[in-house]
């Protein structure tokens, strides 16, 4: 009986194996192959042409392919979490019993990733989503040959989506331009290509224009098309630079906001301002530690938390130190410098001198691809928007609320304000708290761009002072204009002079500017400002 069963199983196994394919057999080898052997194995798999290739390659490419330790069943981890639930590659069903302890990752290296990237493009040519199809076609531009062209030709005939059609046309034209034996067809194809912004097209045209063996007509046409493409690239290059500049400006702005209040409005030379930024960044880190499963949402918690943490430290500093130094602005510098040393060392003691890992939420990663020549990174874009929102809020607080009115009154004429019944002590503390809190919020944004470590604040303190002084102390609009103009100036200088010299030149410019207009771009007017 037992033996019979065994026989039956065996027969079943062999027959399914024969019937189903070499695909599964090969798949089994994947878990044991060395990295060097993997590629030929994958090529063999691709040759089999199985519908399960796509999920397999996709998982492998993204580092989500695992196998069950017990029986080496291949599974794909969830692309969002990177672990459970795991889906069987062959079965396509969730295997609930698996977690990260009983699976092992299938290794990939860069050579495999490169192969997989191309293979995925081939596989995705027939994907239902037109955007994926379009991307796949564009990915194939660098690997056109007679086979792929034949495939693309067929696809072109059935394609309904205009964008995909366009991409396919580009691919076909590119192939014709390079490989057709009719000069006329080549010239015409090259002409059509002049509207494409694809890098592969640009490179191919550049090669053609230089190619001594190509007919002169082809060379000329290529040079002409290339010229028109290069013009567009130059234009988009400027747009890019402008965006870089605005983005740098928004970072400067976020860093300088707090100082625009503590220094600009209150006149405290707040050397501990950088440490408020640092506190905001560390708050982001702590919040992420507290909610490790909700990184994407953590930022919305971090922003108010950072405001509160930095703000209350600010109030504390004002109450304990700054209030004793009214009217002695230069001395606030010394005291706050001491505070900044203490805060840095405090953070070093609590969190160690090492940088802390702040994870970027998914929606802040990647970039917005407007066209092949122009893309804007999401984190920079959002930070730019965020800076403007914070700015708007700050202006609103200062112009429309009672607190704002009182703050302005106290900063303009303390004695008179006090006589009018404003609690100046209270207003001072709140103002300093507000400035520090806003700096904390800036720190949240900075944590998405740079190191979160004890030295974070120091790297922004001088820039912040420059922005506030350049814009005109006590003027929020001045700060805005100053930050953006310094950012843009820096980024337009950078390609010409190099990074360091650009920064140096901007500094020298500020120094000279202040000599000319000692009160900055937008000086505060009236007697109160004296």
């Amino acid at each position: 009986m037992k033996r019979l069963c065994l026989w039956a199983t065996l027969w079943l196994l062999t027959s399914t194996a024969l019937a189903e394919s070499l695909f599964e057999q090969r798949l089994g080898e994947l878990t044991e192959a060395s990295l060097a052997e993997t590629q030929s194995l994958l090529e063999a798999l691709e040759a089999e042409g199985d519908p399960r290739l796509l999920p397999l390659f996709d998982a492998l490419f993204n580092g989500n392919l695992y196998y069950r330790d017990a029986d080496q069943t291949l599974v794909a981890a969830d692309p969002n979490t990177g672990d459970a639930p795991y889906i069987g590659i062959l079965s396509g069903e969730v295997i609930a019993s698996l977690n990260e302890d009983n699976v092992t990752k299938v290794r990939v290296n860069n050579r495999l990733r490169r192969y997989l990237n191309d293979a995925l493009a081939r596989l995705k040519l027939t994907a239902p989503d037109p955007a994926i199809r379009e991307a796949a076609v564009n990915e194939l531009l660098t690997q056109l040959n007679a086979d792929t062209i034949a495939q693309l030709d067929v696809l072109r005939a059935d394609e309904q989506n205009a964008k995909v059609q366009q991409a396919l046309d580009t691919a076909l034209n590119l192939y014709t331009a390079q490989s057709s034996d009719q000069v006329g067809a080549r010239v015409q194809a090259i002409g059509e290509l002049s509207s494409s912004l694809q890098n592969a097209v640009r490179n191919a045209l550049a090669r053609l224009a230089e190619d001594e063996d190509a007919p002169e007509a082809v060379q000329n046409a290529a040079a002409e098309s290339l010229n028109s493409i290069e013009q567009k690239f130059t234009f988009y290059g400027y747009v890019d630079q402008l965006f870089f500049g605005l983005s740098l400006g928004s970072v400067l702005l976020l860093a300088a906001f707090g100082l625009a209040i503590t220094f600009g409005v209150m006149g405290v030379i707040n050397m501990a301002h950088g440490e408020m930024l640092m506190l905001g960044a560390y708050t982001t880190f702590v919040v992420q530690q507290l909610m490790p499963n909700a990184i994407n949402q953590s930022i919305w918690v971090a922003i108010p938390m950072a405001f509160l943490v930095a703000g209350s430290v600010g109030v504390l500093i004002e109450r304990c130190v700054i209030r004793f130094l009214h009217g002695r602005p230069l001395e606030t510098l010394l005291a706050t410098f001491g505070i900044s040393l203490i805060l840095q060392q405090l953070v070093r003691t609590i969190f160690s001198p090492l940088n802390r890992r702040v994870v970027a939420p998914d929606w802040l990663s990647g970039s917005w691809q407007i066209n092949p020549a122009l893309s804007l990174t999401f984190n920079r874009l959002y930070i730019l928007i965020f800076a403007l929102i914070v700015f708007a809020l700050l202006v609103l607080i200062m112009k429309k609320t009672a607190l704002g009115l009182q703050v302005r009154a106290v900063s303009q004429n303390r004695a008179m304000a006090k006589a009018m019944g404003i609690k100046t002590d209270w207003v001072d503390a709140l103002t300093f708290g507000l400035g520090s809190g806003i700096a904390g919020v800036g720190g949240v944004a900075l944590s998405q761009l740079t190191n979160v470590g004890p030295n974070l604040g120091q790297s922004y303190i001088i820039d912040s002072f420059m922005v506030v002084v350049f814009g005109g102390v006590g003027n929020l609009y001045g700060t805005l204009v100053a930050a953006f103009s310094l950012g843009v100036a820096n980024k337009f200088l950078e390609p010409i002079t190099g990074t360091v010299l650009a920064t140096t030149l901007v500094l020298v410019f500020i120094i000279l500017f202040i000599q000319k207009r000692p009160k900055g771009l937008f000086p505060q007017r009236g007697r109160a400002a004296e």
Binding site: I269, V321, L325, I342, T349, I462, L507
Partner: protein, 378 residues
């Protein structure tokens, strides 16, 4: 101003602090030097070379602090970029010392310093020419910081940049210089700066005698500058300067060209800072762009504040004390010394607006009721 005068008059005659200061300075210097050179190492009274170089460094810092105090304490100009002048003086000295290495460098090039050989430079850049002459290098020690201070001061004081704005742009100045000197293309050795010096005027920098001599020279120069500064501040010029500190507009309305006084004093201060840098470099053996760091400039302002600004010896005392504390605490409490340093700055600003020497004065007047009445702080 009154407070300062009050301070100086704690002794019997105004300015009598000068004599004791110079006497103490020279006395200590002499003892330390003899202790190093004559007393054998086994003796408990022996002063180690380490102590000598340390003292030499402190005295250069004291000179630097003095230069800040001259403009801050007496003229109310808070420069947050005085490290720049110090570093420029240091670089001038460093360039001379580099040229003295000659062909003893790593690559054995008789003309070019190692880092230039390494960067494939074929010839000495123009600004290195003449730096192998001691007199020329010393001229540059004085001239370069002086010129920068003159140009900067001329522009700033003529357009009446004052107070906080001035402080911030001096900070920008030193920051810009730091970035520039960090660039390897500038020809100042980039981040590594200038180091591996061999000898000065033919004297081996590593020998104890040279070290003691350098230390003694620093002390003499500090004493000299102290006396000179005291004289300048007591002169008619000094009176106007102090008046500017207390009310620039009034002085201007009286017909004084205040900016000229300020530029003059600023240049004087920068020159002292440059000299301090030149004395510092051979004693510590390295100069690099880190000396331009804005934080260093802020720190030295803090020395002056801790010691007590507006009194020259206060600045010196502050520089010595803070640096000594730093040396001790970095050894005893490597993880916590920043707490102590930071705390010190806060406490001094809050409770000792006139610094530590002010505290001494306060205590003395408490125990021995002074005939002059207590004046409010400036």
């Amino acid at each position: 101003m009154n407070a300062v005068m009050h301070f100086l008059s704690l002794g019997r005659a105004p300015g009598s602090k000068t004599l004791p200061f110079v006497a103490i300075l020279f006395g200590v210097t002499l003892l330390a030097s003899l202790g190093n050179l004559l007393i054998p190492e086994t003796s408990a009274l022996h002063v180690s070379t380490y102590t000598i170089t340390l003292l030499g460094k402190y005295l250069s810092y004291a000179l630097l602090a003095l230069s800040v105090d001259v403009i801050w304490g007496y003229c109310g100009i808070l420069s947050l970029g005085h490290g720049a002048f110090f570093a420029l003086g240091g670089y001038a000295m460093g360039m001379y010392l580099m040229r003295q290495i000659g062909d003893r460098g790593v690559y054995g090039n008789p003309i070019l310093p190692d880092f230039m050989v390494f960067l494939n430079w074929d010839e000495l850049p123009w600004f290195w020419l003449g730096m192998d002459q001691f007199w020329f290098a010393m001229l540059m020690v004085v001239f370069v910081p002086g010129l920068l201070a003159f140009v900067f001061g001329w522009l700033a004081f003529h357009s009446r940049v004052t107070g906080v704005y001035l402080s911030i742009i001096t900070q920008a100045l030193t920051y810009a210089l730091m970035l520039a000197f960090f660039r390897n293309e500038m020809g100042f050795g980039g981040n590594n700066g200038l180091t591996d010096f061999k000898d000065l005027l033919g004297f081996d920098l590593q020998s104890d005698t040279t070290r003691v001599a350098l230390f003694a020279i620093t002390a003499v120069i500090l004493g000299g500058v102290y006396v000179l500064s005291q004289a300048i501040l007591k002169s008619r010029f000094g009176k106007v300067v102090e008046a500017i500190r207390d009310g620039e507009n009034r002085v201007r309305f009286l017909g004084y060209r205040t900016e000229r006084y300020k530029v003059g004093l600023f240049v004087y201060s920068a020159v002292i800072a440059g000299i301090a840098g030149a004395l510092y470099v051979p004693q510590v053996g390295i100069i690099n762009p880190g000396e331009f760091a804005p934080l260093k400039s802020i720190e030295l302002v803090v020395w002056v504040a801790v010691g007590g600004r507006g009194t020259l010896y206060g600045a010196v005392v502050g520089a010595l004390l803070v640096n000594y504390a730093k040396t001790r605490f970095t050894a005893i409490l490597p993880d916590g010394w920043l707490f102590i340093l930071g705390g010190l700055f806060v406490l001094v600003t809050l409770f000792l607006p006139k610094g530590l020497v002010g505290l001494v004065g306060q205590l003395r007047s408490r125990f021995k009721p002074s005939k002059t009445t207590e004046e409010p702080a400036a």
